[in-house]
């Protein structure tokens, strides 16, 4: 992932991000930190292609994003797994159907899809909640369903926005170990968090944002 002098503003509002330039190597594990309102979530939106930059250029998987067709953009998004801060689960679908959705949108059907989703829900410790609806789950459980959905498509890039924000300390560490496992098998992982303790505990490179600008890349 390469950002070249990227700016972001929503509509005609003020600039949220200014002149961001950095390069993340494939297979890396990166933290993104900064105080609340620094623009972490906005930067992640650019990374998972939910919003276009208002200036500069983004390269992802060795392709310049600007100018891609809508189908090419959709194909690129399928290579990215996203864990949202607010989970973004579909309320009327069960856990297993939420998790299997990324496979179904590429036309995969049948028992293997359910088997995959079941395996992942067991992996995140939700084997007893396969058919539960999101409304019946705790925030920590929703977070884990969201993680299972993000990884079921074996993404090349995994982006997580405050993934440990809704779980207790031990659970948070267990989730981080999960992300490290994924990173070991080649997935590039970007974790946005304001939990400095978590950043200090795991020795991975850090991007620091302050008032829409990158202040440090370590």
């Amino acid at each position: 992932m390469r950002f070249r002098a990227v700016d972001l503003r929503y509509g005609s509002g003020p600039e949220i991000l200014r002149g961001l330039s950095f390069h993340l190597m494939s297979g890396s594990f990166q933290f993104l930190t900064g105080p609340s309102g620094a623009g972490k979530t906005s930067l992640l939106k650019l990374m998972y292609l939910a919003h276009p930059p208002s200036g500069g250029a983004i390269e992802l998987f060795d392709q310049v994003v600007k100018g891609l067709s809508r189908d090419q953009m959709a194909a690129m998004r399928r290579r990215i797994g996203v864990v949202f801060q607010d989970f973004r689960l579909i309320d009327h679908l069960s856990c297993i159907d939420n998790v299997s959705l990324p496979l179904r949108i590429v036309g995969e059907e049948g028992k293997s899809v359910n088997a995959n989703a079941r395996e992942l829900l067991e992996w995140v410790g939700l084997d007893g909640k396969m058919n539960s609806k999101p409304a019946t789950l705790s925030d920590g459980e929703k977070q884990r369903v969201s993680i299972a959905r993000a990884v079921i498509g074996r993404p090349d890039l995994l982006i997580a926005d405050e993934p440990t924000g809704n779980v207790d300390g031990d659970q948070g560490v267990r989730l981080m170990r999960l992300f490290e496992e994924l990173n070991k098998i080649g997935t590039t992982v970007i974790i946005a968090t304001h939990d400095e303790g978590m950043v200090a505990r795991f020795s991975h490179p850090v991007l620091r944002l302050k008032e829409g600008c990158l202040t440090r890349i370590q």
Binding site: Y48, L49, A50, H51, P52, R70, D71, M73, A74, A75, M76, R77, R78, R79, I80, V82, R88, L89, I90, D91, H92, L93, D97, S100, L101, P102, R104, I105, V106, R149, G153
Partner: protein, 291 residues
């Protein structure tokens, strides 16, 4: 609903339930307009066909002596003309019977009455009133001919106008259907905005999202359209039964030809098709706003 797959990304919502109702009403109204236009059209064709096959020749009052002889000559001449099926002079008594209710029997004897000859043409005959007049001029220069052309032209104009109005009304109904379906699709999408965004971000193509909604809409649309057609047919059957009991000479028996039935059968298919195209285009336009 049972036709929805378990993992259908879009849930059922009141905004989607309105689609079959809209289409049922649109098809019902269009069906009534089309049936009305077809019945009027076939009635007009029947009236004008009957009248075009009939001519009335009017001879000025003749002297008593020459009357019968002149009439017989004219009738014979007409009978022998190519394209004429029959020619019959209306007897004076029959003519007087026709006039009595209008002017009374007392004065009839004092009024010189014209003589009328009823001419029936063979079906498809190319004989024109102009040709008949040319022949008549030789033996009865004072004869006049009434081929009902003025009345037929008025009725044909009425028929043409009815057709134009029917097409315009069906077009208007389709237009309203398109606008309503587009607005209800937008409402449905607004309700499911978060689901659409999730699917978009996890990599669903526009086509996939459109298909997810389209499959649901197609089932609801077909149901609504054929429900509307069913209501149209029930109404038509009721009207047929009432018309069969009543004596309505100008309308006659209400029925449709096989071609008209086919046209009617196409109506729900056309409305469903137009609605599906509208829904699909609305979805693509709405999705185009997402990055």
């Amino acid at each position: 609903m049972p036709f929805l797959r378990r993992h259908q990304a879009f849930s059922q919502h009141a905004s989607s339930q309105i689609l079959p109702i809209i289409l049922a009403v649109m098809v019902y109204l269009s069906g009534l307009v089309v049936i009305g236009a077809m019945i009027l059209d076939s009635s007009i064709s029947r009236w004008s066909g009957n009248l075009q096959a009939n001519l009335t020749i009017q001879l000025g009052p003749l002297s008593k002596a020459g009357d019968k002889e002149a009439l017989e000559t004219i009738v014979k001449m007409l009978d022998e003309m190519e394209g004429v099926d029959s020619a019959r002079a209306l007897p004076l008594e029959e003519l007087e019977e026709l006039l009595v209710p209008w002017i009374g029997g007392d004065v009839l004897g004092d009024i010189p009455l014209p003589r009328l000859i009823d001419v029936r043409l063979e079906p498809g005959a190319k004989l024109t009133s102009h040709k008949i007049m040319e022949r008549l001029a030789e033996i009865a220069p004072n004869a006049g001919i009434d081929d009902h052309s003025e009345w037929i032209n008025s009725v044909l104009k009425l028929g043409h106008l009815a057709r134009v109005i029917a097409v315009a009304v069906v077009g208007l109904i389709l237009f309203v259907a398109v606008v309503t379906v587009a607005l209800s699709t937008q409402a449905y999408f607004a309700v499911h905005q978060s689901t659409v965004e999730i699917m978009h971000v996890i990599g669903a193509s526009d086509r996939y999202i459109a298909n997810q909604f389209g499959r649901q809409a197609l089932t609801l649309g077909i149901f609504g359209s054929f429900l509307g057609m069913g209501l149209t047919l029930i109404t038509f059957t009721l009207v047929q039964e009432v018309a069969a009991d009543a004596t309505v000479p100008l309308i006659g028996k209400i029925w449709l030809t096989p071609l008209e039935w086919m046209t009617l059968g196409l109506l729900p298919c056309v409305v469903t098709l137009v609605s599906m195209i509208t829904i699909r285009l609305t979805i693509f336009f709405t999705l185009a706003r997402l990055y």
